[in-house]
Amino acid sequence: MDIRGLLLVNSGSIREDDLAFLASGPLGLLEIAGKSPLERMAERLQQYGIAPLTAIVETSSLSMANSFTASLGLNCITSTADRFWRTAESAFNDMAQSGAELVVLVRLGAYAEIDFEKLVQFHLDRGSRVSQAGHEGRKLDVFCISASRRNDAASLFRSQLSRCRSECPLVEDTGYMNPLAAARDLRQFAIDILTRQTQTCPAGEEIRPGIWMSRQAIIEKGARVLAPAFVGAYARIRTGAVVTRCASIEHHAQVDCGSVVENSSVLPYCYVGAGLDLAHSVAGMRQIANLRRDVTVEIPDPKLIDLISVTSGKGFLSSAAEFLTYLPRVAVQGIFAGGKRQQPDLNAALRRTSPSLGGAAGYETSACDSEATQKFPNMIVARRYGHQ
């Protein structure tokens, strides 16, 4: 049976209040633990033998879309926001004309690990024109459409998947589902992938139990990555940095010296400055979405959070400069260094304020030298709020 897949990626379902920093492109294209929801869904459809696949992607993300076309063998069609649904409809018609019997339509949005075999079987058993998948009583934007029923499909596309002119029975699915509608969902998705709550895995190689690392990622000497964690392609964790508690450092991101990334996602091309504490957050596009406080904060200071240049020219120049100065620097260090440099103590490093603070950098937390620290030598941080 000829079953084909149609994937729709647009930004219509993103909540704008807390995801301003994701407005640059649809969430379906944003890499989480090394792969975008689009890639993960395409892989899943292919596992169920649903091929070939066509993806309709909003125009703003043309370069990203092109990269998926190459890596997954997807036929990727880009479209402007106003022509998005029309393009989807014509892609469906093309599939029907070229001999498809069924079309599985998935709109990202939500990422759901649907049992597509069950969905297709249900559709065939019921003899329905359009079937829809649901999760815990909630309708998902996942449909199985008989390719010959173009008018039903057209009504679905023209209403932006909100209604169908014929009866549309719901197939309840009990698999993993994440609405991917807010920064909190994004973070939860990374946690679920890293703790293997999902069937989809982090991209890259599992170098130690629970630690995944993609190609060309650099973990410098003295940096610590504690499982579960993910370090994406070309990402860099600098000396003294700590990455822990399901932290996910996406491709081309950088965590500078002495920073701690705990239970946080660092989005692609994001730079986290030296000596910072990034906890319970999603950082990227010069913004931080703090999940504990439920607030998104713009960080205008490039010393704290910055966006690394996407163009290769600047990166190449800085790499070249670093390469050229490396040998003289090592020679000078060798002449003037007294002995072997000691690895900085983690407790001592975490007590100091960020080096990004200029003149006030390295200020030691007096609260840490309290009575409590002597009683509990492993305690790193003692917060003092008032006299409590």
Partner: protein
Amino acid sequence: MDINSRPVVVKRMPERLNGRTAREFLRDVQPFLHADRPQLVFDLSQVVQLDAAGVEMLLRCMSEAHKRDGDVKLASLSEQAAVVLELTRTERLFEIYETSTDAARSFSGFLPNAMRQQLLHNKRPAAPLAA
């Protein structure tokens, strides 16, 4: 018992605390910081943007106050300010209060821990006698 009668200065911080505004603010509070045992409360309720220069200025104020046996306390932190202070590991250096009034009151209510325990010990009611 010595009751604190020195004045507490409460200053509201500007909406955007960057290099320039931080310098201006520091200039404003400098006279208070140079007083004997200065007691300052910074109200951060209006702060929507805080950068490294702003945090540096806060630390400088605290450092100056400590030199003269005083203290700087923070109050009514906006979410933006709280996130940046947490990010730069500086929130643990300050005493932070929900309102400026609480922060100001905390200066007069200050007691060293040893004295506090002694006071509590003296106040504790005597154990009931066994029948």
